[in-house]
Every structure is written in structure tokens, then in C-alpha cells.
């Protein structure tokens, strides 16, 4: 989706940013951390944890789309597989939650490396289709593999104790752990985007032949980006499994792959903070419209259509355009 991200970026300040941009970003990070720190005293922590997990998931997706120029329609595979592995590790192997999450993340990265190697050979719409189909393969494997529990999923996953010491039974304690995971993931993404590696990815996205002529190997960079994105999606999924004490087929189903797409689209493709806003909107909507049953799907689809037709820059993209700042 090279054009997409460039059109978004076009109205915004130069990529290198400036001191002003950097100060602004730092302020946002600190503000975000403060807001998240007080939030569980005001809002149901389980809901917040769900938002954070999905926000991280969406950020991982956006890393690949907005900064790597590749739109994956199969991120549920990494999210869901990590969720299964983490649930299995915590429940069956009895690992502590942080190790279970790491195990899930690692598996997601391996899976990302395998699928990425296949998928990055294609671009644009082909890439989307290939990732979608590969993810569906994971879905069917999950339906049949014994360790996933099929339609039942892996239930009653113990939340356990952090490092074997701090109990996660209390929602708020767990919340701060999830918040730390989220902030860590976000910072990592931010650093990657602004690293030399991120700049090369950006160059490839904008003009691949030119990048090749400069001596870069686009496939290697794309694959690295893909693995990173899959790993972060896995981190989100693995954490979610611990929070909800459940890993199920929903996590690997293709409709789950659509969630980060919608969140990123609403928040702003190619913005650092957009997917977070998008996740908040989508998860809130799903939560508070839940009693409407299948109408949630209709509303979600409607938002998809409207966002594509008239609001392609997204919430944060819109604000960034107004402020003439990169966000």
C-alpha cells in the first residue's frame, strides 16, 4: 500500500522530524503512560487490558503496512498462534506468565519468518491474499491440532505469578504488567521506525528500484519487518491469552485479521499513535454495542466503508495534518 502511506505522509512534516517533533512525541509518550497509569481506577481493568492488547496488535500491523508498505490480511495467524502457545505453556507446562508470553512471541516470530519468506515475494494485493490464505491454513490446523482444544479452545489458563512471585489474580496488578508490555512494544516500534533500518524500509516502500540501485536488498528488509511485526502481534496475542485465561479459534479466524486493519484505518495508517486510537474506538464499540448482537458486524462494516470512502487519513492522521506534525 505504498501510495496509501505516502499520501498520508504527504501532508505532514518531513520524515526526519525536528527537535520540535521529537519533544512532542516524548510528551505524548509520557502523557500516554500517565493516563494509562490512572485509568484502571476509573475504568474496568479487564476492558482496558483488552484495549491495550488490541492496540499493540494494531500497532504491529501498522508497522508492516504504514512503514513497510505491506498490507497483511493474515495477522490473526501470529496473534492466535502465540495466544495458543502462551496458553498451553502456562496451563500445561506450568510456565510463569512472562515465560509463557515469551514462548508465544517466539513461536509467532518463527511462524512470521516462514510465512514472511513466502509472502514478501509478492506485493500489494497479491501480498494481502497470500498472507490471508496462509493464515487460514493456520486456522484449519488449529481446528484440528489436539493441543489447541479445537472448538473449545484452551480454557482455564492460569494467570499465574510474575517471575513466580507476584500473583496476577488481581486485575489491577495484571493490568500494570500488560501496560508495561504495551508501552515496551510501542517504544520498540517507535525506535525501529526512526532507526537506520526503518529509514531503509521507508526508502524501499517509496521507490523500490531506487533502493535496489543503492545496493539494498528489499526482500531482506521486508522479511525482517515482517518477522518483527509478527512477533509484536504474537506478543499481543500471548498477553491476551493470559489476561482472558483463554485461547480460542476466534483468535486465529480470518475475521480477527480484519480487526487491526480496521483499527489502523480508523486511527490513521502510517501514524505511530493512530492504531491506539483506532483500537480504543473499535474495542469500545464492540463492548458497548455487544447487546446489539450481529449489528456490531454491520456497524463495523459500515465504518470500514465510510473510512475507506471519506476518511482515509484516519483520526490521528487528520490531527497530524492539522498540526502539520508527524504523529
Amino acid at each position: 500500500m505504498a501510495n496509501v502511506s505516502t499520501t498520508v505522509a504527504a501532508g505532514v512534516a518531513p520524515a526526519s522530524g525536528g527537535d520540535r517533533t521529537r519533544t512532542l512525541h516524548r510528551a505524548i509518550f509520557i502523557g500516554l503512560a500517565l493516563m494509562l497509569a490512572v485509568a484502571p481506577f476509573l475504568v474496568y481493568p479487564v476492558f482496558l487490558m483488552k484495549v491495550l492488547c488490541f492496540a499493540l496488535f494494531a500497532c504491529a500491523f501498522n508497522l508492516l503496512l504504514g512503514f513497510g508498505g505491506l498490507m497483511s490480511f493474515g495477522h490473526a495467524a501470529y496473534f492466535g498462534m502465540a495466544s495458543y502457545v502462551s496458553a498451553h505453556a502456562a496451563k500445561v507446562w506450568g510456565l510463569t506468565p512472562e515465560l509463557a508470553i515469551l514462548a508465544g512471541t517466539a513461536v509467532a516470530m518463527v511462524l512470521g519468518a516462514v510465512f514472511g519468506a513466502l509472502a514478501v515475494r509478492r506485493k500489494g494485493i497479491y501480498f494481502a491474499m497470500v498472507t490471508l490464505a496462509l493464515a487460514q491454513m493456520v486456522y484449519f490446523l488449529s481446528v484440528q491440532a489436539p493441543f489447541t482444544g479445537g472448538e473449545d479452545g484452551i480454557q482455564a489458563v492460569p494467570r499465574g505469578r510474575l517471575l513466580g512471585l507476584i500473583s496476577f489474580a488481581d486485575d489491577r496488578v495484571l493490568y500494570y504488567f500488560v501496560m508495561a508490555v504495551f508501552m515496551g512494544g510501542l517504544l520498540l516500534i517507535y525506535r525501529v521506525i526512526h532507526s537506520p533500518f526503518g529509514q531503509v524500509c521507508k526508502a524501499i516502500r517509496e521507490n523500490e528500484p531506487r533502493a535496489i540501485s543503492l545496493g539494498y536488498r528489499p526482500l531482506h528488509y521486508k522479511l525482517a519487518m515482517f518477522v518483527l511485526s509478527a512477533g509484536l502481534a504474537g506478543l499481543a496475542g500471548a498477553t491476551k491469552a493470559i489476561v482472558f485465561q483463554l485461547a480460542s479459534l476466534t483468535d486465529v479466524h480470518w475475521s480477527m485479521s480484519g480487526e487491526p486493519v480496521l483499527m489502523t484505518l480508523i486511527g490513521g495508517i502510517g501514524t505511530v499513535f493512530g492504531p491506539i486510537a483506532g483500537a480504543l474506538v473499535v474495542v469500545s464499540m464492540q463492548n458497548y454495542l455487544a447487546h446489539l448482537g450481529a449489528w456490531v458486524t454491520v456497524v463495523q462494516g459500515g465504518i470500514f466503508i465510510l473510512a475507506v470512502l471519506i476518511f482515509r487519513e484516519g483520526i490521528v492522521g487528520f490531527i497530524a495534518g492539522r498540526l502539520k506534525q508527524q504523529l
Partner: protein
Amino acid sequence: MGKPWKYLLPLVLAMNLTAGAAVAEKVKFGVLTDMSGPFSDLSGAGSVEAARLAIEDFGGEVLGEKIELIFADHQHKPDVGLNTARQWYDVDGVDVILDVPNSAIALAVNTLTAEKKKIAIYASAATDRLTEDSCNGYGLHWTFDTYSQTRGAARALIEQGIDTWFLLVADYAYGHSMEEAMREAVTGAGGKIVGSVRHPLQTLDFSSYLLQAQNSGAKIVALASGGDVTINAIKQGREFGLQQGGQRLASLLTFITDVHGLGLDMMQGLQFAVPYYWDMDDQTRAFAKRFHERTGKMPGEAQAGIYSGVLHYLRAVKAVGSKDSDQVLTWMRDNPVEDMFSRHGKLLPNGRMVHDMYLVEVKSPADKAYDWDYYRVVSTIPAERAFRPLSESACPITKGK
């Protein structure tokens, strides 16, 4: 950035705060059910209505507060079901979760319920694991389970010489429990299982499985799915000529809504066990009439069970004067369950509510006298034989007692 948070967060906060403000002593039921899926006929809106009837019959109030009732659609997704249940217990102040037509979700809710020390009354989940290995005393299994459905019916069929079985099983908790129970029941009664195959829960096309069943040479192809999935399988079995090949199709867990959906033509002569039939006596008919006025349908097994469960719970709360789960449960166990649904009913410590079951036979279209006149009651299976006795239960909290 920052801006969307500024606008959105207060909104979210406001919504949450209002949702969280539940009055402590108000009794609240949550029907966690299938409002739109394959089990929506046998539970769904009818379950909600049955709970409402029970609350009305009780007077609408207990402990001086109005009794509340909410419901949600779990869409057969364990995560949706579990999250709804968690939010109900944590935020919405729900005391009792009802129905849960999906064994996998019921099992997840069961764990959560014990953790939160609340109560769940299952009316349409069939897996007996709820009162066996996953039992915890807080989950009450009210209407039927895989044990009650397989024992009597399997014996009856095998006595008629139908002794080789092929199992077509929905691949989730319920199907697995049912498969296990059928294996036990069939081999126990001298029959033989010649093959089995598992299919995804919401399968639309059974052709490949039916072909395997045909090639197995079994005399009966027993379905362990339920709802529309079963209906589809029976229809396609007919399309692929199972009957012409001399095979029978049977579903041991058959709901009256299935019979209604498929018609007597296809179902006549089948025998199976039911916990309730609306046309048994004046009491059941009186309830059925009121239910029919509201929903346009006769009450199904699960729906009648919900009525009974809600009523028994409310009586307990009133008698105890509190909704403390442990006290309420003690009262519920100590007092017999007698109402239009339950005869000789008693709640066991493992959460199993045992009551009389009935072996019924589906009437032929010619014998049908009026709408919903579908069954002939062949015999009554007394409560103590219909369900697994406590002595055989694998429930960790009652074992060895």
C-alpha cells in the same frame, strides 16, 4: 496526538461508571445463550422468556428489590461467552448465569463462576464434565446431560437388534462427551461401535462423512451434534439414501424443536430420552399454554428447565434471606425440587440436579391430533436411574465422600 484520548476517554469512563453502579442486594439473572445460531430455537429468546415467566410467578421481587434479567448472545465463541460472563460478574452485578447452550462455553463459565463464587444454572449445555471432572459445586446442571441421554435410549435400540453403531460427532466439548457416553452405553448394552468421525461444529455439508458412514456398514448412524446441525445431517442422510441402504439415522439428544423443524415424516418411530414434554399433564400443559401465548412456540426441554432452576433459586434466596451463594446452595440442596418441570428432583452436591426422565417415541404423522402433538411417552426413567449416581461421579469435591 492526545486529542482523541481527550474526547474518547471521558466518554468511555462515563459509560463504565454507570455500568458499574449495581445495588448490592438486588438479584440479577443473566441468560447467556444462542440468540441467532443453531441452538437459538431450543434455547435463545425462549430461554429468556422462560426465566421471565419464573420471575413473574415468583412475584417479581425478592429481598425487597425488583428482580432483574439481562441476556446476551455468545455466538458460540468461547471468548465472547467468557468475556460477557466476566463482565456480568465484575461490572454488571449478575448473580446467576443461566442456560449456556454450548458445552465449551459452559465449561469456561463454570470455572469463572466458582472463581467469583457466583452461581450458574445450565439448562442446555449437555456435557457431563460440568458435574464430573470440572465440577465445583457452583455450576448447577439442571435438565439433562450426556449420561441421561445415552443410557436408556441406547439400551432400547440395541434390544431391537440395532447393535452396530457409527458415530457422527460434532468436534467440541459436547460432541466428545456424547461420544464417550455413547461408547460406554452401547458397549455396555452389548452393541458395537464400528466407526466414528468428528466434524466441525457448524458443518454445512455432510456428504463426505455420510459416505464413510455408509461404507462402515453400521446399522445405525448416531449423531452427536444438536440443533440445526443435526437437522442438516438427517436431511442429507436421506438425500444420500442412507435409508435405502438399510441404515437408520438417530440423534439421542433430540429436542422437540428438531422434531418440529424436520417434521414427523422424517422422525417417526425414533425413541430417545427427554427431561420434559409439554403434553404430559395439566401442570405442564398450563405452563406450555402461557409460554405459547408469549412466544408462539411450545416450551422446549431447556426452556422448561430454566423456569424450574430460576424458581428454585429464588425460593432459596427468599428462605435464606440473602443471596450469599454458599448459603443459597445449601438450601437448594437440602430442599426437593418439585415443580411443573421437575419430579422427584434433588440437587446433588456435585451440582447435578437429578429428576425423572422419560423415554418417548415420535408419533407418526397419522397419529398427530393437534399442533405440537409429537411424542408418546413410553416409560418414566426414575431420577436415581436416569442420572449418574453420586457414588460413580468423578467430581473432585464429592469423590470419596
